[in-house]
């Protein structure tokens, strides 16, 4: 966690989940991507002007526990519903990025009684093609430079200077990479059941996608949107897998009217 907001922990079935809160207003549950780059990104300050932005680290990310029994995104999403209950959150807007988008979609497929709106940004989670179709780039068999080129419209933006990080920050980077693999290795980046459950999502939903995303392509995003009743789909030009970081203004101009 960046320490910009208030840090606390809540329990989900005995597992400690770390939470950061910034700003005040209606609750906005912001589910970070697997790298948690959002915690350092400027767009959250903009959201914190009108919302209380709640940033939980899923089990195994940040400083949150990861007991051995937690093995997939289904588990993570139940734990996030626990977090909402523990904080007595009502009328919540959920915005999820990448892996966080997948967790958000799983949550909404299970229980929307305290969710008012759902936003998925370049999310993983479903299989839309056949067994031989590569729906999502295989980031674990690809050369790191190819992954960077696919993830960013401008790969320079993805470079991180690990030499400037302390051991706690490096431990979080390493844990996040490990936990991402633990939950998303197989089936790769999707829950085979989710596709058939998305019809249950009965709140206004917006999918926002970077038009240059080559990890999860815009075509994948459009197919994902079609699985959620009434969902809208919107592209951010000139951005890759993280449009909120590469093109924050364009991203906010799409997001803000939807969550206002």
């Amino acid at each position: 966690m960046s320490g910009r907001g208030q840090i606390s922990t809540v329990k989900s079935g005995g597992v400690s989940i770390e939470i950061e809160r910034r700003g005040s207003g209606r609750p906005l549950l912001l589910l970070c991507g697997e790298e948690q780059l959002e915690l350092e990104a400027g767009f959250i300050d903009e959201l914190a002007k009108n919302f209380e932005v709640i940033l939980p680290s899923p089990a195994g990310f940040g400083h949150s526990d990861r007991p051995d029994w937690v093995s997939n995104v289904d588990d993570l999403s139940y734990m996030m519903l626990d977090v909402m209950d523990a904080l007595s959150l009502k009328d919540v807007t959920i915005v999820g990025f990448s892996l966080g988008g997948w967790i958000a979609a799983e949550m909404a497929s299970k229980n929307t009684s305290n969710i008012s709106r759902l936003v998925l940004v370049d999310a993983y989670g479903v299989k839309v093609g056949g067994p031989f179709d590569r729906d999502i780039m295989d980031i674990w068999t690809s050369h790191p430079s190819a992954v960077a080129a696919a993830k960013w419209a401008d790969a320079e933006k993805g470079k991180r200077d690990f030499s400037q990080m302390n051991d706690d920050q490096l431990t979080i980077v390493a844990r996040n990479m490990e936990s991402f693999a633990r939950f998303c290795w197989d089936p790769y980046m999707h829950n085979p059941k989710l596709r058939q459950r998305l019809h249950r999502v009965n709140v206004p939903t917006l999918l926002i996608w970077g038009d240059k995303d080559a990890i999860t392509s815009p075509a994948y995003g459009e197919a994902y949107a079609k699985l959620i009743p009434g969902a809208k789909f919107s592209l951010v030009p000139g951005a890759g897998h993280y449009p909120h970081i590469e093109k924050p203004d364009a991203f906010l101009s799409v997001l803000k009217p939807f969550i206002a």
């Binding site: 490096l170 990479m177 693999a181 197989d186």
Partner: protein
């Protein structure tokens, strides 16, 4: 001391290595010519049979999707050797039980090979090197858990002689488990494990009486691991301690000059190229190792070895080469440096090293070196009954 012949069954007939980005996982199999492959398989099996005639024991392993090792099913090699050889022990080091889906199938295969060989089988279990994660598509964060659950199930299945049992573990669910055949050796063949850093796993292997083997490591690190192993079986008060095994690259020749030439060919193995994403899949090593990797201070074994000279590798005990007397002397030195060991596992063939020179090296070893080291005191004799208690 027991000496073992080993080859990874390499497929060296590749385009110039400079033109390839990797020899593992994703090297297109258009580069594999089945006719050359047929010759190589038969040649390597011939060499195992010659090793058996020479009085050496026979060690095989498996890897997947790699030109460094076209033995993709060690149980097949072991089964052929069980039938075609008659004297040497046969060790699979090992069965990648964390990557193979079905431990019971492994238990069956091992029992059958043990029967065909009339009890000459030793059974290794390994969690698999990082590259193997991709070919097997096993979750890299769970390999240690899978390894031990698989071993527990196999050893229980081998020993359950009175009635079938059910198993509902984390990774495997089976009903009415009842092995036909059961192993020739009672209660089961000796078990071997490998390691290169995880002392906790090494101690666990020691406490259960499994042989512990490690490969191509500097002698100070080998001693650190063997000391850990020895302390664990002494600390537990168990009679166990199946023994320790070490693998260097070995080449024996009539002259130092020839030996150096042969040894240089063996370094093909150390120079095998691999793309970076295959070397350390997330979660394969603990988080603190990866913190060091992010700082640039953890690179892994083969990367560190690659840059070193042959003289350095000889000094470290990673390579052993020379005339028969020189090879015997180097092994005795290594033996003293690491506190003794029970099994010398010799990679005597790698890369382009041809049949004639491979056989010449192993013959000289068997006739002129082995007699000089055979009687080095073993820390523990092979005794599967005691080891299994």
């Amino acid at each position: 001391m027991y000496a073992w012949h080993f080859t990874e069954m390499p497929y060296p007939n590749l385009p110039p290595l400079e033109s390839l980005s990797t020899m593992r996982v994703s090297l297109a199999n258009k580069h594999f010519d089945p006719k050359i492959g047929a010759d190589l398989y038969n040649r390597y099996l011939d060499e195992y049979m010659i090793a058996d005639d020479l009085g050496l024991n026979l060690l095989c392993n498996e890897h997947h999707q790699t030109a460094t090792c076209i033995d993709v099913a060690a149980p097949l090699t072991a089964a052929i050797l069980a039938r075609q050889t008659s004297k040497g022990r046969i060790c699979i080091l090992g069965n990648p039980i964390a990557n193979r889906g079905d431990p019971i199938r492994i238990a069956e295969e091992m029992a059958m090979i043990d029967c065909i060989s009339r009890g000459r089988l030793d059974v290794g279990f390994v969690r698999g090197v990082p590259y193997e994660i991709f070919a097997a598509n096993s979750n890299p964060t769970q390999t240690v858990e899978r390894l031990w659950e698989g071993i527990d199930l196999v050893t229980k299945a081998w020993g359950a002689v009175d009635e079938p049992f059910n198993f509902e573990g984390k990774f495997t669910h089976r009903r009415a488990i009842n092995l036909w055949p059961r192993p020739y050796q009672t209660p089961h063949p000796g078990i071997w494990m490998t390691g290169s850093s995880d002392l906790e796993n090494i101690k666990k292997a020691a406490a259960r009486g499994y042989v512990f083997a490690t490969f191509l490591q500097p002698h100070t690190k080998v001693k650190w691991m063997f000391d850990g192993y020895r302390s664990a079986y002494q600390d537990t008060g168990l009679p166990g301690g199946g023994g320790t095994a070490y693998m260097p690259l070995v080449f024996t020749a009539e002259t130092e000059e020839e030996a150096e030439k042969g040894a240089r060919e063996l370094t093909w193995y150390l120079n095998a190229k691999t793309e970076p994403q295959y070397r350390n899949p997330p979660g394969y090593v603990p988080v603190d190792f990866n913190v060091n990797a992010l700082k640039g201070t953890f690179t892994g074994r083969t990367d560190a070895m690659r840059a070193k000279s042959m003289e350095f590798l000889k000094e470290e005990g990673v390579m052993v080469y020379g005339t028969p007397d020189s090879v015997a002397k180097q092994i005795k030195r290594l033996y003293d440096l690491v506190g003794g060991f029970d099994h010398l596992l010799m990679m005597q063939q790698a890369g382009w090293l041809d049949h004639k020179r491979t056989v010449s090296s192993m013959s000289l070893f068997a006739k002129e070196v082995y007699p000089q080291i055979r009687d080095l005191a073993r820390t523990k004799p092979l005794n599967t009954k005691v080891a299994a208690e």
